[in-house]
């Protein structure tokens, strides 16, 4: 009854007005969000496109003041580290996701592990950097690209695990049952029937996590560090990467020329990451639901 009387007292004009206010606020906020993205992309493009030349992409980075400096070594380092991380993380993470989805439906251990995965996804990446520093860098006695790759693979692991679980969960049970009815082992049914029909989801998960780790900076600060050489000694020496190079050139350098190179590097990595994201969504999205 109380509710009715309060409803009556609201005048229609006020109700219409508050409705309009809310609509406007919604429009305003999405505009602000998109404007922020626009502003970031446009500034990166404006500053970065000047730096972007062929030499910039093919020459290694050099100390301040030397001619013809580029970012080739950092590009290569980022490529090595991200792919190395993917090599290490993808298969175990997918197996973990398969276990959670196929064998861990109403299982206490699976619930705990699922929660661990969630927490792991929420752990600040810099703490993973600390972890790998103690685990790899201190025993080995030197920074290395390899340690960076391990840090990135630890970041990738829970992401791929969760996306694998989600996309395998979407496969209908009838498919599983028909595979098993044909006399397949559970392993065969999972790997060649269930996983295949969840293929698009799995690939999306891997590619998006790859894009994400290739832009990570914080875990590489204490593991891969930075170096002005090509990553020929990936396992023994500090290895450059684009995000750390951006940090070195903009945050830790007072020189205008370095800032410009940082913008160039930012443009390159942003383009790569956005391209992976957009292409993944276009190519693999349609069959997702």
């Amino acid at each position: 009854m109380n509710n009715c009387s309060t409803l009556k007292r609201r005048s229609p004009i006020f109700r219409k007005f508050s409705n309009i206010v809310m609509n406007c606020f919604c429009l305003l906020s999405i505009t602000l969000a998109l404007f922020a993205m626009y502003s970031i992309l446009v500034t990166v493009w404006q500053h970065g496109s000047d730096a972007l030349t062929w030499e910039f992409l093919t020459e290694p980075s050099k100390p301040y003041g030397e001619e013809n400096a580029g970012i080739a070594n950092a590009l290569l380092g980022t490529l090595y580290m991200s792919l190395g991380a993917a090599l290490m993380a993808v298969i175990p993470a997918m197996a973990a996701g398969i276990w959670l989805a196929e064998f861990g439906k109403n299982n206490k251990i699976a619930t705990i592990l699922r929660f661990c995965g969630n927490v792991l996804m929420g752990i600040p990446s810099i703490i993973i950097g600390l972890f790998v520093y103690v685990l790899i860098v201190i025993p080995a006695g030197h920074f290395s690209g390899w340690a960076g790759a391990i840090a990135l693979s630890i970041i990738m692991f829970p992401v791929i695990m969760r996306t694998t679980e989600d996309s395998i969960n979407m496969v209908p049970d009838t498919l599983r049952e028909s595979a098993l009815a044909l006399g397949m082992t559970r392993m065969r049914a999972t790997l060649s029937i269930v996983s295949r029909s969840a293929k698009n989801g799995l690939i999306t998960g891997v590619l998006l996590s790859l894009a994400r780790v290739s832009g990570e900076t914080a875990p590489l600060l204490f593991t891969a560090l930075f170096a002005d050489v090509y990553p020929n000694h990936f396992f023994e020496q500090p290895t450059a990467s684009i995000p750390v190079l951006i940090n070195e050139y903009t945050n830790n350098s007072p020189f205008e020329a370095m800032h410009n190179m940082g913008w160039g590097a930012a443009l390159v990595i942003a383009l790569v990451i956005l391209a992976i994201n957009i292409l993944t969504r276009i190519i693999f999205h349609e069959n997702k639901h």
Partner: protein, 310 residues
């Protein structure tokens, strides 16, 4: 044939156990390495304000306070925006959502170091020339009670500081929160909404009285997820926070956060400072863990409720 199945099953289980082992490993390792600091300073480490590498005195309070302040600012700024944009995306026609949703998702894909750069080269000058004087003078915040604490004595800033860091974090966490909220809002049973429209509610009333009430736990869960990211974000904050281990003295003052301190000092730190930095890392991990726990509970409850109602 059965044997292969058993092997496969346990192999997969071992892989899943890696998640637990990693989490446990990170926790144990942080505790182990920070033991020195805890035994030297005791639990007082958490609320001690000093941070002096020469005198070997370390306290975590400035870092914790900085972390909490930037996170709070980011949440205040971005929660309404994230909710409103999620609302617009779920309530608008399909084709608008098809275009705008991926745009918001792409915002989440931009590396944080680029947010940091953008903050340093674009936002800091704007803050210094326009926003900070505007807040202090034109809006007159400085003349309000508490304004002097909030904006410093004269309300003049140099563009860096907590407010700038909070704004960058707000932009960063907005897409994450918006994505979770979008999923939660989408799960509102359309029957509930339609019956509200049916008795003549305006859209505003449907949203505040039906959608919001129905999805409240999930929306809080989304906020927690954004909060977790804001707590641990390193690069975006590192560029603009000023990196001084001092207590926050208003929104324009320099300061530091736990992750920014780690990124800045860990490379050169030795002995006790290193141990203290690990202790900071442990505090950050515990904070994030608590936030995740809350988010997990809230999001799970929402799902259960939805399952029973359908």
């Amino acid at each position: 044939m059965k044997h292969i199945d058993i092997v496969f099953r346990y192999l997969c289980m071992a892989c899943a156990a890696v998640a637990g082992c990693l989490l446990l490993g990170i926790l144990v390792q942080l505790i182990q390495n920070s033991a020195g600091a805890w035994s030297e300073f005791g639990i007082e480490f958490i609320w001690s304000e000093e941070w002096d590498a020469y005198e070997n005195k370390f306290g975590a309070l400035p870092h914790i306070a900085g972390t909490l302040l930037t996170t709070a600012l980011a949440l205040i700024l971005s929660v309404p925006l994230a909710f409103a944009s999620a609302l617009l995306l779920t309530e608008s026609p399909k084709w608008i959502e098809r275009i705008l949703s991926p745009c918001v998702d792409l915002l989440a894909a931009i590396p944080s170091v680029i947010y940091g750069m953008w903050g340093l080269f674009v936002l800091v000058p704007i803050m210094q020339d326009d926003v900070q004087p505007f807040l202090a003078e034109e809006l007159g915040l400085i003349h309000l009670p508490g304004g002097e604490w909030l904006l410093g004595d004269d309300g003049v800033g140099c563009g860096f500081g907590f407010l700038t860091a909070g704004i960058i974090l707000a932009v960063m966490i907005l897409p994450y929160m918006s994505a979770v909220m979008r999923d939660v809002l989408r799960m509102t049973p359309s029957m509930l909404k339609e019956s509200a429209y049916g008795i003549g509610c305006t859209r505003r009333e449907v949203i505040t009285d039906v959608v919001l009430r129905h999805g409240a736990p999930g929306i809080l869960g989304g906020i927690c997820i954004g909060m977790g990211r804001a707590l641990g974000e390193t690069m975006a904050v590192l560029f603009v926070i000023g990196n001084l281990p001092q207590m926050p003295e208003g929104l324009y003052s320099f300061g530091t956060t736990i992750s920014a301190t780690l990124a800045n000092n860990f490379g050169e730190a030795v002995d006790m400072e290193r141990s203290a930095l690990f202790a900071l890392g442990l505090i950050l991990l515990v904070l994030c863990f608590i936030i995740q726990l809350i988010a997990h509970q809230l999001l799970r409850r929402n799902k259960l409720k939805l399952a029973t109602q359908r």
